[in-house]
Symmetry: D2
Subunit: 332 residues, 4 copies
């Protein structure tokens, strides 16, 4: 039984807590949050200890691992503290929005050599992963085009948007930038991006881009298109299409039910799953399980800090292209 | 170029005429109909001769074949006349509703040995045929269950219903009774049928069965279910499902378009094709082409009079079961 | 927090235990199993107490509810003991295979008036439930035909089959017999069943029926077809189709992934979910949640003992029809 | 009955001839081709006159209309001759590859005022048209993103490729450039294109681009992506996705059959239709019918020369962007 400490009881924290509760090889031992009540509520349900002082938990010599799901800008000090305490670390994405801080963090991890994993959960979605495996096994031969559609049902609240301008790159498409690297096992050499503000001033008061189209060229030659929107009123739209010399793979959407309603106006299906926590529920289970297996087998977790850094670098170049209106070169 | 005479210019006649017009190996030369105007209108469009006297056309020594698409009760005398004139014959289903007349007709055909084909058009639907071929090639191993759904969007007009009581067996499910023999290459040994009148007195004034469920046992052991209705408000619903030791084959429906509409209420597709002439447009083309090829290559057309007789026999037994409420045995 | 005792640590027990572990309003307190080791293993993971003596758990005055998931023939004494101890009871289906024992059990429940629920989990499948709700809300008007396909990927082991002859009725289609009552809010008045042994002697040494087709007539007039097999090699096939005067509802299957693979041979999807625990994972969560809510709100759980008795009665009549080859009347 | 002359008996010519043969309001009277044998063969089948001299046909005062389906570079002189003879003209796309020639042709048409239509057949595909109509009727509100996938199963023969470099823009995506104007009722103001040569030297000896990704910005703000390939081994892949403030519309592909094959490896569908003549068979019927209706009702055909000119202009700008690697501005 590996003992875990969860840092950050809000939002995605309870998801990880519930997954630990049913995992045969792990246990939630600590819940740390500046909001002591949030920590306590989650701890009580799972028979864990709660607190607001991370140091207390890190001093627990029985503690094996830490899950970091606080806001992005607090990630690197927590990672560094946990690394120095010798704990395995699972950190939500993005690691940070500042490349320099990510690189400083990389040094600490290099010194301490603790297991580290970034929570790019989409890699663990069973359908996306099956698509990945099919490419790897050569099913479509050389990949020639990759198309990622990555659309949220709504924009984040104004405060959140204000805190992270161009979040459509840094927060949303950063998943796609990770996916394209992972799926193609290749790095982009050029990115071109165009954005638009389609939401009205009430929904998007900061006029931050809420719609984007991106084209990338990869070092090995493949062309990639990513499109994103903060207004997919029909649900959380998450599709990947990989086209190659021997065929095409399509990772499709997931509906709320498998019901078909036929009447004289046609056939109706229920909407797509609306919220990412439902859509990626299985991914969250599997990414945590993979992290636990990596610790137990002393293997390197699949998604390292370098993956986090690369995705951030692509996002930054994309923002520069969107602002300048011209393609931006990237180092492979 | 094979010269054809079409007997019956109404309803399905123009479909066969148009298919002849674009067929590279055949030509419409005569259109015969008691309604001289109907014959003429169709003839003019296709540069054919029209008339109301079948004898005149049959006396044309260049005439190779006759397509019979008049009402069922007129079929057998036309078949017999055409057979005696040595013409190849394509006859719409059902051949007749009276088994004795069908058997008499069989004798004439046996004597004259002209090529003869019954228009069980569903056998030529590309999807149904692909299902058939997959069974034949052993894809699902031994067939164990077969399920046919055969639903019309509306009931026929009261006159038509009055002229053919239990038409849901004789006119609609007769297609399914042919299909199950063809798909399983086997004969039923027992049939059980239950019917209901679901339409109201205005739509179905004769209270003829408009809804039916049938279970058959085949000589080789497979179980078969057929269901039928005259009120599929969502379109012409035509599905076949074959289940066997190695898998399942499903021949699905055809929609009016391939458009998907996603909004907050879900995903909507356009309705099924509504009318059998649209749904089976390709089948009509292919059955005619197969008939022409059979004539040219002097091979026996695929669907003989015996097939028509067998399907009618099953329909009759089904009606007896529906009336008695008990299963009825059939000779394999 | 409601405290639960799980009776039966094998098979479906761990599923209920995991669902309790993440439920905000309940907790697993006891695990009872004659196999002390099985009880202990499950108890340790969830911080519960284990034992082999049900009496000890029932004596715990803080205990609110019991989940019974032992073999069917042991259900009624456990139910009766728990009822007399005043505990709420959730019991897996079938309650028992003997109608007389079920009726005796009903008396005890009537006296004690504890909340009681039978685990007909399919009612809680989100898609089946959406179909149910659509019928209830009048979407298809009067239901005219209902078709249930209920196919397992493989037959149970010979011992299991020997212990429950005609299990395809008592264990599998019993779900469908419950579903048709629930979906149509109606009772059958007649059942006709045909069965076959399609598996070979090695797979099905007892020659118990492994394939079945059933037709039922309902009191309000609808016709129902159920088909079942123990050899759906392509996965756990669970479909429902409801046809009515205004349209059709189809509850479709669930695939392992949403991946489509296009190559020159066509388009391939991954297989259906293979195992009922995966297919109905969400149903198990929801049925337990509904039971907990019923206890908390002091409302009657949705699926009572009478539902279990009715489904068993239909299964018995179906077996009689299969054996006799003629329809069997049922009292509505 | 409108009398038609077909100019060009090869390739697409027989498709138009067959559609005339079954059209109730039109008739094929002349077939003109430099290859006298090709003209004759087609004429005989349809009872038309054949010749190699267009002048002879144009001198026929009863002739109402001309269908031009010769190679692109011969279109403009034929159009001009037919226009001066006062005939209605239906011309296959592209009108020409040289903008100056198209503009000269426009002048002749402006003078003669004969009905003229360009054969952008995709506009008449029932699914694409339903998508168009849904946008027009406001179903998705303001369109925000449009994605067109336009992939051929194979590259044209080397001679054809040599005769039209960058044919992926001029011959294939020119359809998409027309569609995006028609669907959005808007003009592009900027185009960015990236191309690649993915086929090997044997298949693509001239190293002409066989793969392309394009992003366009429209005057009203929508973003558009087009991707294209000459190697969709899985069939003729033709999809359109329109995303707007109220939802998404998807025009999907068409399969060869509606058969599903379930076995232990999954579910298999037959491939997409492979050839554009099959895929767009209905479009060819409908575009001809629309042209005939326009002549009869003396209304302007839907797709004028200006549409042909605009699509060509976008293709040219796309080629310039692909060559320079930077976005190219377009006048709206």
């Amino acid at each position: 039984m590996l003992d875990f400490c969860l840092v950050g009881a809000g939002f995605i924290g309870p998801v990880h807590a519930a997954n630990l509760a049913v995992h045969p090889g792990a246990r939630l031992k600590w819940v740390i949050d500046l909001d002591r009540h949030a920590a306590e509520a989650l701890a009580v349900k799972h028979g864990a200890r709660d607190g607001s002082d991370l140091g207390e938990a890190l001093a627990d010599s029985a503690l094996a691992a830490v899950i970091v799901c606080t806001p992005p800008r607090t990630h690197t000090p927590i990672i560094e503290a946990a690394a120095r305490a010798g704990k395995a670390i699972f950190c939500e994405k993005p690691i940070d929005l500042d490349l320099a801080r990510v690189e400083a963090c990389a040094e600490v991890l290099a010194q301490t050599r603790v297991p580290f994993c970034v929570g790019f959960n989409r890699r663990f979605d069973p359908t996306h992963r099956a698509l990945h495996d099919a490419i790897r096994s050569g099913e479509i031969g050389r990949p020639e085009m990759l198309i990622l559609s990555s659309r949220d049902p709504e924009i984040s609240p104004p405060d959140y948007v204000a805190a992270m301008p161009y979040g459509i790159f840094y927060d949303t498409m950063i998943h796609d930038f990770d996916m394209l690297r992972w799926l193609l096992q290749d790095e982009p050499v050029e990115i071109y991006a165009r954005t638009a503000c389609m939401l009205d001033a009430k929904e998007n008061p900061h006029r931050d881009p809420d719609t984007a189209m991106v084209v990338l060229r990869m070092a090995k030659g493949a062309l990639v298109h990513v499109n994103s929107s903060f207004r997919a009123v029909y649900g959380y739209d998450q599709r990947i299409e990989a086209f190659g010399e021997k065929g095409m793979l399509v990772s499709g959407n997931q509906m709320q039910t498998a019901l078909e309603r036929h009447d004289k106006d046609g056939v109706r299906r229920d909407p797509l799953l609306h919220f990412f926590i439902d859509r990626y529920a299985e991914s969250y289970r599997r990414e945590l399980d993979a992290f636990i297996q990596a610790i137990k087998t002393r293997t390197t977790p699949e998604i390292g800090l370098e993956d986090g850094r690369r995705a951030l670098m692509i996002a930054e170049a994309g923002v520069r292209s969107a602002k300048s209106g011209t393609p931006v070169a990237l180092q492979a």
